[in-house]
């Protein structure tokens, strides 16, 4: 198991920006995504809102793997979800090139219920091609340190 990063190294992540970029939800992708949820395809080219997990991440030109590495995760199983907060200003649509930015907005070491973890929060903003805000997705994960993975929450996606 690698050595845990120092609390200062974790705090220094605040302000880290991902490259940013564009992401277009293809029809096939939305179809499969919606099918995974157990729903029928939405009308009028609407994208299923569950896209607000992966579209911001990939559109900001990062990945789940890179986000794990950024916080120096001890393993895939050492990360738990605190919360996801999705604000939708306009329904997402297929075949729209969303402009996406992402950065770390909070990072600090905490101890709670006998475990130590680093709480890292990522914020992604999606804009329409004309720059109008479309959505904001805030991901808050816990990177467990020096213990067995949280047997209740297990994973981070």
């Amino acid at each position: 198991m690698p050595a845990a990063p120092t609390p200062d190294a974790i705090a220094a992540l605040v302000g880290h920006e991902f490259p940013g970029g564009e992401y277009t939800i293809a029809h096939w992708e939305n179809f499969l995504l919606t099918e995974c949820t157990g729903a029928e395809p939405l009308p009028d080219g609407l994208a299923h809102p569950v896209a607000l997990f992966h579209v911001p991440i990939l559109g900001a030109k990062t990945s789940i793997k890179e986000m794990f590495e950024l916080g120096q995760a001890e393993s895939d199983f050492s990360i738990g979800i605190e919360s996801y907060d999705w604000e939708i200003y306009r329904p997402l649509e297929e075949e729209v090139a969303y402009r996406i930015t992402g950065r770390v907005t909070a990072a600090d070491r905490r101890s709670q219920d006998g475990r130590t973890f680093d709480r890292i929060q990522f914020r992604f903003d999606l804009a329409q091609p004309d720059g109008a805000p479309a959505a904001r997705a805030t991901i808050t994960w816990h990177y467990g340190r020096g213990q067995r993975p949280n047997a209740r929450t297990g994973d981070a996606s």
């Binding site: 992708e29 499969l32 995504l33 099918e35 995974c36 949820t37 157990g38 729903a39 939405l42 009308p43 609407l46 299923h48 809102p49 569950v50 607000l52 997990f53 992966h54 990939l58 990945s63 789940i64 793997k65 895939d76 199983f77 738990g80 979800i81 605190e82 919360s83 996801y84 907060d85 999705w86 604000e87 939708i88 200003y89 329904p91 993975p149 047997a151 209740r152 929450t153 297990g154 994973d155 981070a156 996606s157």
Partner: protein, 135 residues
């Protein structure tokens, strides 16, 4: 549409959470975490020979409930916590209750508590949502 504080949102049921859907979801998300597609790994970390549903997939059941209730353009915000995992084979019911009705920018909004119900368990996911209530 008539909505009042305390109203229950009609349930949305996922009869059996599917491991195959988790695998498709992992590919779409580019999610390398094996807990979503390799039951041997999950067994080693103490959840039995199952795969763990992605958090967003569990959340999507509540989105489907809200869409069925107020329409596919209605969701303005969702905040979700994930206290317990959902496993393949689980029978999950998305549930919700209206906590407030308010006006904002000419829209009638309903704030709701939303959660997933699983028999014999605390809610594995629980949070809140705001939706536009149609006329």
């Amino acid at each position: 549409m008539n909505v009042a504080v305390g109203d229950q949102i009609p349930d949305w049921v996922m009869e059996s959470v599917s491991a195959a859907r988790m695998r498709t979801m992992a590919a779409i998300l580019r999610d390398p975490n094996p807990v979503h597609w390799d039951a041997r790994v999950v067994e080693r970390i103490g959840f039995g020979r199952h795969t763990i549903n992605q958090g967003p997939l569990g959340l999507s059941y509540m989105i489907n409930m809200l869409h069925a209730w107020t329409g596919p353009r209605s969701i303005r915000r969702i905040f979700m916590r994930f206290p317990l995992v959902v496993l393949d084979g689980d029978r999950i019911t998305a549930r919700g209750r209206v906590t407030a009705i308010r006006e904002d920018n000419g829209e009638r909004l309903a704030d709701c508590d939303i959660w997933l119900h699983r028999d014999g368990s605390e809610p594995p996911l629980a949070g809140s949502a705001t939706v536009v209530v149609p006329d």
